[in-house]
Symmetry: C2
Subunit: 318 residues, 2 copies
């Protein structure tokens, strides 16, 4: 469905602000609680909560994170899911979200309805009330900016900074080729993140959103580099399909495409890896967990390791 309409009567400008906000409340339905716990006052009020709170923010922008080939409902779901992936990456679960819209006056009301119905369906699926938001006018631009709150799901949250030399590097699922559909079809790894945060073996965690080659830099302890054998990388079928069209290698797509929304996991070097892997398979029998290698001293990288610096990953400003 096209996000911009050439028919002025089908546009958000024809609907007007007041009726648009009423429509958004209707489209969100039970995903949006009544004021003051939802839309309708100067601020939304969140219930008191004794756990540590987490917050993350990510948008979807037309022409950047989606285009007219992606169903509008899927765009709404993607907006929430990409933020959920950030919570999953710390072992947290969601508590509430707010959405700020920037709408060109020619944005299609039908598109916006489907967008909100997709957002609402994802919000119900993952139990996230949409508690507030804002609508602003923009010229030639369509974007939705979501801020998501969460709380630690268990006794601890897992940071990116816990890895040490010798620790093992794992990744969930398969990587690459997300442009062929995974970038909006993915399911955020919330259950996996929560489980991983409860395992003492796990020292650090992050989600893979800009490509593993780029994202692993954030986990790598000083004085080390990831030693990864090319054959260890779990390459997706989509990465292989992409490679046929682009002339690049499937490995390149797996490491540099981005929008995998998988979890990169660091397991302590002295941990019982076999027990950890068995426990994973029992709990998540259908999701692959692959050991890629480990962090080793910069001067001890084995010959034949992947040179991650050759892959640039997703660059947000080009």
């Amino acid at each position: 469905m096209r996000a911009f309409t050439s028919q002025p009567r089908d546009s958000v400008a024809a609907l007007g602000e007041t009726r648009l906000i009423e429509s958004i409340r209707r489209w969100l339905g039970s995903a949006s609680p009544p004021a003051p716990f939802g839309i309708g006052d100067d601020c939304a009020v969140l219930p008191a909560n004794r756990r540590r709170q987490l917050v993350t923010t990510d948008p979807v922008i037309h022409g950047r994170h989606f285009d007219d080939s992606v169903p509008a409902r899927a765009v709404g779901a993607k907006l929430l899911k990409r933020n959920l992936s950030d919570l999953a990456a710390m072992g947290a679960r969601p508590t509430a979200a707010v959405v700020s819209l920037a709408l060109d006056r020619r944005v299609s009301v039908r598109w916006l309805e489907q967008f909100h119905r997709g957002l609402a369906a994802a919000a119900r699926r993952f139990s996230v009330p949409i508690v507030g938001g804002d609508v602003s006018q923009s010229d030639g631009f369509l974007g939705a900016f979501l801020t998501l709150f969460g709380e630690a799901a268990g006794p601890r949250i897992v940071l990116r900074s816990g890895a040490r030399a010798g620790d093992w590097i794992y990744v969930t699922g398969t990587l690459g080729g997300s442009l062929l559909g995974h970038h909006w079809r993915f399911i955020p790894r919330l259950a996996e993140g929560e489980w991983l945060a409860r395992r003492v073996e796990v020292r650090a965690l992050m989600d893979v959103s800009d490509g593993l080659a780029k994202d692993l830099l954030a986990l790598t302890p000083q004085g080390t580099r990831p030693a990864i054998a090319p054959a260890a990388v779990p390459i997706s079928a989509a990465a292989r399909r992409r490679a046929r069209d682009t002339g690049r290698t499937p490995l390149h797509h797996a490491l540099a495409d981005g929008e995998d929304y998988e979890l990169a996991v660091v397991v302590g070097r002295r941990a019982g890896r076999a027990a950890f892997e068995r426990a994973w398979r029992r709990r998540f029998p259908r999701l692959r967990l692959t050991c890629l290698g480990r962090f080793v001293s910069t001067d001890k990288i084995p010959a034949g390791s992947v040179d991650l610096s050759r892959f640039k990953g997703y660059e947000h400003l080009r």
Copy 2:
């Protein structure tokens, strides 16, 4: 200062994402705590807090909420201050903020530095750590979307929905003509909102951001209308100056311009108004508090009252 540069080497695209994020951390300085309580992990972590949490979100968009005539530092400050005004309107105080940027590649790095230095100065002044954010690329668009968290400052928060027939309507400061500079020079009424929320006389509260004529609708109890004598409206000097240029009346500008960022206050009909007004003058001797009139039954509006439906207020989608 111009927000967009024609010199590619001065643009955010030339700086690149990684160095831009480093720069933002430097520009924010002490306004941005280290990870995990600030920028640098998948989510920001907020300290545990037993009070009820509040959340609000408002952006600044180039060509909409500011243009090149507004100093870049003032734009950054305005972004935070307009959200603070929403917290003030419930008697709350800020605890943390996240900022999501959508940047055209031609946005000037110098402009962005000044924007962040202005944001950081306001964040320090109002004690709001900037704990996280996001940078996305956009085409032909520059916007910054802030989400602000707060907590009740006292034993209660004040909603918009508390007014009843017969209650009195007050407003702080003077109204209208914000385009002449008030829209970015204003000071959010945080101390006033906190004080008002502690007064038992106060039944409802909101901030005046779209013009009093439009915003009062949200406070008006069913079956009533605001009965306001034209002479009671505190018209700003800027509204009078604007009227000379536009041919409209100063009253029109006072009621319909928007971006006043003053507080509209509803005081119970049986409250001791004289004591309330005296207490206000003692606490805020330099800020005017004006009684505009009261909410009366729709069939008992006195002749000569302002017909608010004649004034449209700020419409966000035109």
